[in-house]
């Protein structure tokens, strides 16, 4: 579908990253590096949560940036730059997961919360050590619980949750990235958040002290 001039102008005006990408289209090296620096951590984080392996996530992120480079001459700003970038990221991740699934190299399907071995609380208990300060232990426990919860989502739910939570994208933007309708995204996120709540809430209700969940966002 052709993108109208007014759309192009709107996004070019509103989104500095679109302007950077237009400079990349003109073979501006500095702009490419700037875009990489702005997005590399976000893309690697997203992919790491999607595929479950950090090294693989970095490889895939490189593939994402390579695709951006190769597509630069065809780039037309029909949306925010991040929407375009995460569409590519989603495609790269989907392809990789399909490949993994075929080869059965990794088991990305999380264990059932009811499996004793996979129970996040038990896992947290195992991780507990008398040598660890209580506060750190709580944080680590919660992190494991949340990690386990996110892994319990299916690929689509995970993608939608990560884009909504960490990229603050609207349903419309997520829908564009995942090639679904906004209504489908609404349902997808609703189910995903219910599932997350199912897994996380028991831990929270057990009274693990988390005074400020947002204060320990970095690894």
């Amino acid at each position: 579908m052709a993108i109208s001039d007014s759309t192009i102008q709107r996004y070019t005006h509103a989104d500095p990253d679109v302007r950077l990408m237009l400079r990349v289209r003109e073979d501006d090296a500095a702009a490419f590096e700037e875009l990489m620096l702005r997005y590399q951590n976000r893309v690697v984080s997203l992919l790491a949560h999607l595929v479950g392996k950090r090294d693989m996530a970095e490889d895939l992120a490189q593939d994402v940036f390579l695709r951006i480079y190769r597509a630069r001459k065809r780039y037309v700003p029909g949306s925010k730059f991040s929407t375009w970038l995460f569409t590519i990221t989603n495609n790269v991740a989907s392809n990789a997961l399909r490949g993994l699934s075929r080869r059965r190299e990794v088991d990305l399907k999380p264990s059932s919360p009811n499996d004793s071995a996979g129970n996040p609380l038990e896992a947290a208990a195992v991780a507990a050590s008398a040598l660890m300060p209580t506060r750190q232990l709580d944080k680590e426990e919660l992190r494991q619980v949340v990690q386990h919860a996110i892994e319990s989502l299916n690929e689509r739910q995970r993608m939608a949750v990560l884009l909504a939570k960490f990229e603050h994208l609207s349903y419309l933007e997520i829908a564009e990235i995942m090639e679904m309708s906004p209504q489908a995204i609404k349902s997808l996120l609703s189910r995903a958040r219910s599932k997350l709540r199912e897994m996380i809430e028991p831990y929270l209700e057990q009274g693990a002290s988390i005074s400020n969940p947002g204060s320990n966002g970095d690894e």
């Binding site: 940036f65 390579l66 480079y69 958040r193 970095d218």
Partner: protein, 532 residues
Amino acid sequence: MSDPHEPDESIREELVAYLDGELSPEEARAVEERLSRDERYRREMQGFDRAWNALEELPRASVDDSFTKTTIEMVAVAAEKDLAVQTQAMPTVRRRRTLWIAGLAAVAATLGFALARIVLDHPDRVLLANLPLVQHLDAYNQNLSPEFLMALQKQAGDILEPYRDEELEHQLKALQETEAASTAERRALVEAMSDGEKAALQANIIRFREQLLPEKRELLVALQKELRDGKNSDELQRNMLAYWAWLQDRRDAGPVQADLRKTESIEDRLAMMHKIDGEQNRRIPLSLEEAKKLRAVVKEFATDREFQDVTRQLWERFGRRGGRDRDERSRNWNVIAIMGALQRAARQPEEHEEASDDPALNELRESMRDLWKRIHADMLAALSANTQMKVDRAERPHSELLGLAWRATQESSRPSEEDLEKFFVSGAIDAKRMQELLGMPRERMLEQLRIDYRRELIGDDGSWFGPGRWSWGDRDGRRDGRRRGEGRPSDDRDRGLNGRERNPGGAPRGEGPPRDGPPPPPRNQPPPRPPA
């Protein structure tokens, strides 16, 4: 809601959409209204919110510099492959050309931008490991061998001698320091380079990776190490740099380099070098100090009594005094033009000279020779030993020397508007041409005047003292009624005045050659030989 953990699907969607800010204002107000009165509904919303907040605990990735670097490198490599694929798809004839222009077009358009960043910000392992070679890629890439470089010293030392100067020693020192530097030091070297140096290095690394076959790259790497570690490494490297400097100085340097590279036999290649060197005269560089000294020599002779006496005799015999040396430049020109006449007289071998019946003319010739000997000695003394040697080796050493003097006295090769105005009224332009010029728009007139100026004062090729060039006017028959008549045509060597020549071949500015001088040679054609 009977069970907060299993809410109705629509309620769940509504609450999540509310938390995500995806509801319309009306829908949001409705949710808020219910939240205020329905505690279970409120707890439901809080449950979703807490779980959502807990996601903040998820680890975020933070990549290091090496990720950025390797990604950019990967992009660059991919771009090279793309280019190779495109190149392969082209017809054979175009392929060769494409490879040739890869260093230009591809750098700018296809992969240059990525590689530029590598060079500028992330000098990589390959570049750093091969930095001395990449920096001097052209010098190394001339099909060299230690045997050829040693043969150069023995059999072409005279050709390369002028290039073994301070600049070359500086280059050699820098090369050897880079070779001795650690990787970290090399990285610092690259990072400290000027933009121009980085651009040159960038172009070389692209050629090193893009255009050289892997086998060729290996050969060059081996050569660089061989020269570095060889017994006579200083001499080998010095000869390599001098040879490259000599190659760069050739006219048609590209084809000359290609011909020499293709010549495998060392003897054949040396013979070709001698042939090329003999055929091509380089423009001799002149230092500021030498130029200053040469100007002093010219100035000194301008007031020399003997010089003035000879000049007067020449005026009386061959010219009309016009007295146009109103400024320093035209005065310099007049002096040098006279010197040109002197050197031609002096260079004419006496045995070829027919005695004149006119004893005064014979005496004048003798005075001119003597005078030129003094001028020649003083001018040579103004030059460094190196420049003197270059002058001696020139095809026409005396003309070369006067050419240097001329260059030294020229403050600018491009005349100012004031110069052009002076030139316009100097009488050098005939009435017809003046009318023609006055009929032009100002810009065009100035442009044409510049061309005339060059022709008249400097000569089309910039060399006043080229053989057989009459020094003032009368070329191409442009000056009506001032053609030379019968007489000795000008020569293409440093010929001097002979008994039959009525003009010394270098009358000063404004005087014009005598009407009975020889016709000028047509431009762009070799001048006629003198009669036997």
